[in-house]
């Protein structure tokens, strides 16, 4: 049991830090559309060309397949650059890509995986529907076989970066005569197909990363089905086995960095009574508690990675980290608004504003996206503690 990194891992950290310092994009990331996509894909190409296309992907697909400890080092260093944990590259690299590796045909893999890794394409996800949120398996978007094609009609929602995407990992209902988990199919949908209508959803902070996607008799070749007709639920679940808790490190490290920035902010700003905000005992105590909470979240991450490095099955730490992170992120970014005080009403809040109000508003999504905190608690209660459903 130790916290120390081996000499090889320390040398690796130096290598990563040097490369990232020299290569990380300097310009501000555009928030929308083509410029955002171009920015993200240019970064992916640069990463790929330097051998950093993906640290977790197997070598046979062009990844580095690093040991978990070195993945942790990579993500810790990546986090320090301030680059976002999730951008338009995320679904391809962290979700659709690993699913294709696990379940796609050789032809599908050969076509798609290099494009993802080399920064040529953006993928999005078509899972949630208006009537299928936490209860994903009740999805209704239907697909009917017509010759060598599936004809898809229905609606998806909460699709991030739909308008930037080339491909979508799409779950459709292909069988209404079986229990709901059994009649689902996982297909690769070309987002330029006729019949697709994308309507951006404006979100709480004013952004529009999410969209609704409507499908009106969209034709998808049967050769785009992954894992076979009606096997889509198990294909979707296979992605989970890939997640080993290392990528989460970016969010964890950046939250801890935010706490440090907020402590500085509280020292530099004055309250309405003219005193430095840090002298407000309530704020000071909550900042200190956030420091302790971030320390414990990191320790939990390390414990999870230690377990996963020695096991084939990811442990329950994933749900635990997500749940605790969501609670903590909301508390931390709320503090940002409290430290700014009435200044937070104006946008931007301050001449040296670092989007604290945006971060506070966006933090509301941390306990909703990717499985709500309520669902995470159900998972932990049932799978870890053995409570009845």
């Amino acid at each position: 049991m130790d916290l120390q990194f081996s000499a090889a891992d320390v040398a690796f950290r130096d290598e990563v830090r040097t490369w990232l310092t020299d290569n990380v994009p300097t310009g501000r990331r555009p928030k929308l559309g083509r410029p955002m996509r171009d920015y993200d894909l240019a970064w992916q190409r640069k990463l790929y060309e330097a051998g950093w296309g993906n640290v977790a992907w197997p070598i046979e697909y062009g990844g580095r397949d690093l040991p978990l400890i070195q993945q942790l080092v990579w993500f810790e260093e990546y986090a320090r650059t301030g680059m976002r944990p999730i951008d338009t590259r995320f679904v391809g690299l962290a979700h659709a890509g690993p699913t294709l590796m696990a379940r796609a045909s050789q032809e599908q893999k050969t076509f798609h995986l290099p494009k993802i890794l080399q920064g040529e394409v953006v993928w999005c996800q078509g899972f949630s529907e208006p009537e299928a949120g936490s209860d994903l398996a009740s999805l209704r978007t239907k697909a009917v076989v017509d010759g060598d094609q599936l004809v898809v009609t229905g609606q998806k929602i909460w699709t991030s970066y739909a308008d930037s995407a080339d491909y979508q990992e799409l779950l459709v209902r292909t069988n209404l005569d079986v229990v709901k988990h059994k009649g689902i199919t996982w297909v690769i949908c070309d987002m330029k197909s006729p019949g697709i209508d994308i309507r951006p959803i404006r979100t709480i902070e004013g952004g529009a990363d999410f969209s609704e996607v409507f499908y009106d008799e969209v034709r998808v070749p049967l050769s785009n089905v992954v894992g076979g007709i009606d096997n889509g639920w198990s294909v979707a679940m296979s992605t989970l086995a890939f997640e080993r808790g290392t990528a989460f490190t970016i969010s964890q490290v950046q939250l801890a960095a935010s706490v440090e920035e907020l402590i500085e902010l509280a020292r530099s700003k004055r309250s309405i009574d003219g005193k430095p905000v840090i002298e407000d005992d309530s704020i000071a105590q909550r900042l200190a508690r956030a420091r302790a909470d971030c320390a414990a979240l990191r320790a939990l991450t390390y414990l999870g990675i230690s377990k996963n490095a020695n096991s084939d099955q990811p442990g329950p730490e994933g749900s635990m980290m997500k749940l605790h992170y969501a609670d903590l992120a909301k508390r931390v970014y709320r503090l940002g608004v409290e430290i700014l005080g009435p200044r937070s009403l104006a946008i931007p809040a301050d001449e040296d504003d670092t989007d604290w109000v945006d971060k506070h508003l966006i933090a509301y999504s941390t306990s909703i996206g990717g499985g709500t905190s309520e669902i995470q608690r159900n998972i932990i209660g049932e799978r870890v503690l053995g409570l009845p459903r």
């Binding site: 049991m1 916290l3 891992d9 000071a284 320390a295 320790a299 939990l300 990675i305 635990m320 459903r389």
Partner: protein, 344 residues
């Protein structure tokens, strides 16, 4: 970096759990405190723990210790906390260190052989001077009148003869397993003292208290979940309800946080990391908050039974209070934590 327990560490956990179950059961503890025998641990059980090397576990071998790390002591203390063992384990383990590193090896040997060391809880932090002497109002946890008590500040740790204190008066403690005295320090020189830059006794104390609290969180999680599974109302186990299931899940998260941060704090001290103080304080803060939440959650899940003297949960609630009020206070730890440099 590896936070998994080794097979040697698993052996420490298993053997200590077995000893606690056999010799320091809560049923036995209840008999003792209800008979007025405080601290509520039998002498033979205390000496049995000494024979197992519990008080010498973290002392270096060249100091007649077993030479294990603070992380190993965390694993032992988590078991002690989980099973609510009474007695001044924390101050005795730390007291042996103060004696050994403070230049009194014979005293250290006496302590590791089973001489109990109580703990000073000062009414205010400045009651303990830079030389480790005690002045003014204090409370004593599990002190023997002819024995020694440990006084700790961030800068110094000392062993004080109880006989050097004035007005030593026994009073009931909220934790019924504890022998509590009020006393007044006279500023008399301590028997032995040790500066924290030689050995960070206070930080080790925070980590061990965190480990005890982590054990309490785990007991609460397991007890609450077991009741949620077995208790049937409206023809269904109450655990099907999210109002019950979700606090159970939150306890599972809090347990992992308290445990992993206790280990992180211990290893930071063992490895001499510059952020050892940050990590050790974070461990105590995290574990105290986790135990506060978890004991209350389990008491609520137990319903009316949780409010009774008969069920054990109140003993854990009270132990949590004790462990959250030693080595300073949460508000003081938070104030210190905020002033420390960023962790490495």
């Amino acid at each position: 970096m590896d936070l998994l327990t080794t097979s040697e560490q698993a052996e420490i956990v298993d053997s200590s759990a077995a000893f606690l179950a056999d010799r320091i059961s809560i049923a036995r503890t209840r008999e003792l405190f209800e008979g007025g025998d405080l601290p509520a641990i039998a002498d033979d059980a205390w000496l049995g723990a000494a024979d197992l090397g519990w008080f010498a576990l973290g002392l270096p071998e060249d100091r007649n210790g077993i030479g294990c790390g603070l992380a190993d002591e965390v694993l032992l203390f988590r078991e002690i906390g989980r099973r609510l063992a009474p007695g001044p384990f924390l101050s005795t383990v730390l007291g042996a260190r103060v004696a050994s590193f403070g230049g009194d090896p014979e005293l250290a040997d006496e302590i590791t052989a089973g001489r109990r060391v109580g703990l000073v809880i000062p009414a205010s932090l400045d009651a303990i001077g830079a030389d480790g002497s005690v002045t003014g109002d204090v409370q004593l946890i599990d002190a023997d009148l002819d024995g020694l008590v440990l006084a700790v500040t961030p800068g110094v740790a000392s062993l004080i003869a109880v006989s050097s204190l004035d007005a030593v008066t026994e009073v009931p403690c909220v934790d019924p397993t504890v022998r509590l005295h009020r006393a007044v320090g006279t500023g008399a020189a301590p028997t032995v003292s040790l500066a924290s830059d030689v050995d960070p006794i206070e930080l080790r104390g925070h980590v061990l208290a965190a480990a005890l609290l982590a054990g309490i969180v785990e007991w609460s999680r397991d007890t609450g979940a077991e009741h949620a599974i077995n208790r049937v109302q409206f023809d269904r186990p109450i655990g099907v309800n999210q109002a019950i299931k979700h606090p159970c899940a939150d306890m599972a998260v809090q347990a992992q946080l308290a445990y992993s941060q206790s280990l992180f704090g211990a290893l930071a001290i063992d490895e001499g990391r510059p952020d050892a103080e940050f990590q050790a304080l974070s461990a105590h803060i995290t574990a105290a908050a986790a135990a506060d939440f978890a004991t209350a959650a389990t008491l609520q899940i137990m319903g009316g039974m949780g409010f009774t003297h008969e069920h054990d949960v109140h003993l854990y609630v009270k132990r949590m209070e004790l462990l959250s009020h030693m080595l300073g206070a949460p508000a003081a730890w938070l104030e210190r934590l905020l002033e420390l440099p960023e962790p490495v």
